[in-house]
């Protein structure tokens, strides 16, 4: 016999069935019944200080653990505050379930207090969304939401839950399986296409693997490694792909694209075969699209058919899960070591390494190198957006997947710190560093309270150059140094940290960098490191927008 439960209890029971351990959220009038049910539920509930923080934390949790992140907010402003976080997750294909309160069913559409049409607002930035009108549908919808969020090309799903549905009662039966007649993602690639790809790879002289976030999402790093080594192909990664292949391996070319390594971009432009794996030919990656890899044929492996032939013409498309396709491909593919191509790559690596000026000044790249050394490349790093993000991508040597958390597609400032909180909640045994800028950190600095109160001991490195650095860099290079509204007059970050109960350290000299990082690592508290770095340092090399990939500036050749 099944007993009756309220909608709110059904949500809690359903989340238990989905194996949810942590929830990030903020209460409000339209989620009171749900919060009442959460009061004695067995989840770790992290009360954030702004709903945007909840969405980013759920996203960071998902990226670090591979499990869908869960966040909860009330109706109206609570829900709209989640929007940036949902859009961030959508652009980077991150599995997330966001539950929002909604006004009572009979009030919907009446401009009621704290009413917003959140299913309407989030339609273009979710993989799917639901407005629950009948409590009898609720368990099925939660089941479907988790299924949709975490399968195929993952993404965020919103469940909008009116307050009367949270209070209505029905019998709770959690479906064992999901039946959505219109949603059956393709998992294994077409065998014929895989054969064609293997043939093309065997015949190629200058192959390059271009790996993206899809490798991470599919959990296919091991397969990628075997594949690269079996076909003796160098591997370049997108921002979201960093860690898919170990940075210190000989075949790694680091990141490609606008701020990629010169050797990755040269390799792409001189390649005769690009093997794109779980990547989508974003404009920051390809540069001028008509002149991207002009001599290359393209094999594209992706689970999302819409990603294929959207930006570039693909010779062999393979729709399927990266792990499954690579596993199949590994069985049949052969390509011998080719000294000529390997030597060429080696030559570019030697001639055009990543570099910055070595002097006494405190340069941001040095800070990141030191964080990398001090953590032996084993920390989870959450970045913000701008120069701090690109320097992290260039100078932190990511060895494993799911250790770089960064808003790649949407480029959301304010992402890093709450994402770092989410990652630390999901993987408490790992060191989590947030690498931010003086601009970005202030977009969600209120989460210092969340981190301190909940003992979520992330270490925050602010690369403080008193500018919105990346915008300033563009103004310097393309707007005649007219620094329109990019100069920042900052608060005292050390005192802010202390006011929140965290530890603050200011670092102004190069020799103070390593001791500060060591101190942070040995402090059982949230630590804010305010690195006062060179103000007008630029991220180089750089492919100016709309230029060819090998048309880089500042590669110091």
């Amino acid at each position: 016999m099944t007993t009756k439960m309220t909608g709110a209890q059904i949500v809690v029971e359903s989340l238990k069935k989905e194996g949810v351990e942590a929830i990030f959220g903020f209460p409000g009038g339209s989620v009171l019944p749900l919060f009442d049910a959460l009061y004695d539920a067995p989840f770790r509930f992290i009360l954030v200080r702004h709903e945007q923080g909840a969405a980013h934390a759920a996203d960071g949790y998902a990226r670090a653990t591979g499990k869908p992140g869960v966040c909860i907010a009330t109706s109206g402003p609570g829900a709209t505050n989640l929007v940036t976080g949902i859009a961030t997750a959508y652009m980077d294909s991150i599995p997330m379930v966001a539950i929002t309160g909604q006004v009572k069913t009979f009030l919907i559409g009446n401009d009621a207090f704290q009413e917003a049409d959140i299913t309407g607002i989030t339609r273009p930035i979710t993989k799917h969304n639901y407005l629950v009108r009948d409590v009898k549908d609720l368990a099925r919808i939660v089941k479907e939401a988790f299924h949709i969020a975490s399968t195929g090309r993952p993404g965020p799903v919103v469940i909008d839950l009116p307050v009367d549905v949270q209070m209505a009662e029905t019998e709770f039966r959690y479906p064992k399986e999901v039946h959505i007649r219109s949603y059956k993602p393709t998992y294994c690639g077409h065998p014929g296409q895989i054969k064609r790809a293997a043939k093309m790879i065997a015949e190629s002289k200058r192959p390059v693997i271009y790996a993206g976030g899809g490798v991470m999402l599919s959990g296919a790093s091991q397969q990628l490694r075997e594949f690269a080594e079996k076909i003796n192909s160098p591997v370049t990664m997108t921002l979201l792909g960093l860690g898919a292949y170990p940075a210190d391996h000989e075949l790694s070319l680091g990141m490609l694209g606008m701020h990629g390594t010169a050797y990755a971009n040269y390799a792409i432009q001189n390649s005769d075969l690009i093997i794109a794996i779980g990547a989508r030919f974003d404009d920051r990656v390809t540069g001028k699209i008509d002149e991207f890899a002009p001599h290359a044929k393209i094999i594209h492996i992706d689970i999302d058919p819409t990603a294929i032939s959207k930006n570039v013409k693909v010779d062999v498309p393979i729709v399927g899960d990266v792990k499954c396709v690579l596993t199949e491909l590994l069985k049949i593919v052969h390509r011998p070591h080719d000294k000529e191509w390997a030597d060429k790559i080696k030559h570019w690596k030697e001639k055009h390494p990543l570099q910055y000026k070595q002097d006494d000044k405190l340069r941001p790249q040095y800070v990141i190198e030191q964080i990398c050394e001090a953590t032996k490349g084993n920390a989870i790093i959450a970045t913000d957006v701008g120069q701090n993000q690109m320097w992290t991508a260039q100078w932190y040597k990511f060895q494993r997947p799911r250790e770089l958390l960064s808003s790649g597609g949407l480029g959301t400032m304010g992402y890093g710190f709450p994402a770092g909180i989410g990652a630390k909640v999901g993987r408490p045994d790992n060191e989590v560093f947030v690498i931010s800028g003086d601009g970005s950190i202030q977009m969600n600095i209120q989460e210092l309270a969340t981190a301190v109160v909940n003992n979520i001991n992330v270490k925050i490195a602010i690369l403080n150059n008193s500018y919105l650095g990346m915008v300033r860099q563009w103004q310097e290079l393309f707007y005649k140094k007219r620094y329109s509204h990019t100069r920042l007059q900052n608060p005292d970050f050390v005192r802010i940290a202390e006011a929140y109960g965290a530890v603050g350290i200011r670092i102004g000299k190069k020799e103070e960098v390593r001791p500060a990082i060591e101190k942070a690592l040995h402090t059982k508290n949230v630590v804010v490191m305010d690195f006062i770095v060179e103000e007008e340092e630029n991220v180089f090399p750089m492919v100016p927008a709309g230029k060819r990939l090998d048309d880089m500036i500042g590669s110091m050749a």
Partner: protein, 169 residues
């Protein structure tokens, strides 16, 4: 080139908004869109006429397929199909001669007189695009006061093809 796409969708609230939102967000132009329930009340059929080259159409179809509420997408332009549209056209008809001429044109085109007013006549016709365009052309000289079109609906012809699954890419 114009393509007629037939889309089977879940018959839920909000599905039309999802489809139209997708077209506007991705910069695809809709020429016309007609929606109605099918023989299965849980399913609606949308007939969408969209203008674009092959690559745009590929993206339209893939993006539609990606929506959870979309069950199947068929580009009818690649098949044998019947299409129909309903047109209502109100034309000026002040003189007896005009009235006679309009009625004659309507009859010759297999159209009906939907309303006879003191100053105007409303003609209704069902047909494919060329028939509707032709009638509109013929009636134009009298002075068109108002035109309403339903947008095209379409159906494949029975040519004993096996039933299509969700389109493969």
């Amino acid at each position: 080139m114009k393509h007629t796409i037939s889309v089977l969708v879940e018959n839920h609230p909000g599905v039309l908004a999802r489809i139209s939102g997708l077209f506007s967000a991705r910069g695809f132009n809709i020429d016309s869109l007609a929606v109605g329930e099918t023989e299965d009340p849980t399913v609606s059929r949308m007939t969408i006429v969209v203008e674009g080259d092959e690559r745009t159409l590929e993206q339209v179809k893939k993006q539609l397929n990606k929506l959870i509420d979309v069950i199947t997408v068929q580009d009818l332009t690649q098949k044998k199909f019947i299409d129909r549209e309903l047109l209502l056209i109100k034309v000026e008809a002040a003189t007896p001669k005009d009235r006679n001429d309009i009625i004659e044109i309507a009859e010759s085109m297999g159209a009906n007189i939907a309303d006879l007013g003191a100053q105007s006549i409303t003609v209704e016709v069902v047909g494919d695009t060329s028939k509707i365009d032709k009638l509109t052309e013929l009636l134009k000289p009298f002075g068109v006061k108002e035109i309403v079109r339903t947008g095209k609906i379409a159906m494949t012809k029975d040519v004993k093809e096996p039933k299509e699954p969700k389109e493969e890419q």
